[in-house]
Amino acid sequence: MAEQRPGRTERLRSRRAARRERYEAFFDPRFLASAGLATSLAFLFQPSLVVRAIMFALFFIAAVASGKRVSPLATLLVGLGIVAANLLVPVGKVLYHLGPMAVTQFALLDGLGKAVTFEGLIHISKASIPPTLRLPGRFGSIVASAFVYYDRIVEYRGNLRPSSLMTDVDALMLKVWEEPATSARAEPSPSHSRLGNILLIAVTGLALGALVLRFAQG
């Protein structure tokens, strides 16, 4: 019985890793990030709550497809928390009484809107930002250097003991800093499929189209 659970987690994790590799190979990272940015802006400014809710659902699916870690439970809890916090200050028509608290229409819609926006942006971000993203310019190369150092920190095999914390941390910093540069992270250049770019353009177009339509309706 104890053997089953680790096996299942391992399988889920490796399936997620496989999804992630496929996803990252399919889309060009910068194109994906740009499309994600445009789509998230279109999402943010979309006035209709119903449309945003649909978009959120799609973003959630995309985040799962991208192989990033997604927790439906955490999403639900945070969302409920946001709605509950907004319900604390009653505004609008009273829909029903929940114990001492009055659930009011405007507060409810406002809370739902904020929760959908909050979680929606998180998931479109997850779906469109590959961790291998290389930022442009000199700033980008500093961030890239930071990632290299970060890898070294994570790989550190020394001990961090609370009793000698200062010296241990100092040793870690010295080792990471002065370690001779090894070969750079393997940078495979996968051939990103054209289909991926087309798909991204289509998705972004849909999101912007929904926005324009809504505003055209007035």
């Binding site: 904020k114 997850k126 500093i142 890239a144 250097s145 990632f147 150092y149 920190i153 750079a184 940078e187």
Partner: protein
């Protein structure tokens, strides 16, 4: 493409401290919090250390590296989480820098850290009120600010002690002072 050259000692220190920001953010992520997206501020410790190490432009770059790098790692760059991170980190960085430069010897890392942490949390509460929680955010404001005071003291104490004993810090201070194009084992940038 990532180069292996140490093209600038200050850039190098900035990148290293940025990496520690990522590391501390990951540590912070594992600490259970009632409000998952409002930061404890442990990840600002490298920025606190940098107040005496880096000149202002690099100091600000470090703050940005922390925010953007962390947002890319956690995939939250386009979300409100990144907004909270940006506002909190930049506020903390600016307040810490200003108080360090303005008060000189009258203040140590402890006071600087307290001011940075409390102001950072204040800004984040304000944002939370506008963007997510509405008026109900007021209810957690006192507790959140108090937590800022406590983490500020803790980080400040750590920073003061660390600077006193750290070999790395001494070397980095020397390298940062030389700064400019002086590079170790490579051509300058």
């Amino acid at each position: 493409m990532l180069t292996e050259r140490r093209w600038n000692d200050r850039a190098d220190i900035t990148a290293l401290l940025g990496a520690f920001c990522f590391f501390l953010s990951a540590v912070e992520y594992m600490v259970p919090k009632p409000l998952p997206f409002m930061r404890l501020g442990i990840a600002n410790l490298p920025i606190l250390l940098a107040t005496d190490l880096l000149p202002l432009p690099w100091y600000l770059v470090l703050a940005l590296v922390k925010v953007i790098g962390m947002s890319v790692i956690s995939g939250s760059l386009f979300s409100y989480v990144a907004l909270f991170s940006l506002a909190g980190t930049m506020t903390s960085a600016m307040v810490m820098w200003l108080s360090r430069k303005a008060f000189g010897d009258l203040i140590s890392a402890i006071g600087v850290s307290i001011l940075g942490a409390v102001s950072s949390n204040a800004v984040q509460i304000f944002l939370a009120r506008v963007v997510v929680f509405g008026e109900a955010a007021r209810l957690i404001a006192p507790a959140f600010l108090a937590m800022g005071l406590l983490t500020g003291i803790a980080l400040g104490v750590f920073a003061e002690r660390f600077v006193a004993v750290s070999l790395w810090y001494a070397r980095a201070a020397g390298a940062a002072a030389r700064g400019g194009a002086a590079a170790r084992g490579g051509d300058g940038g």
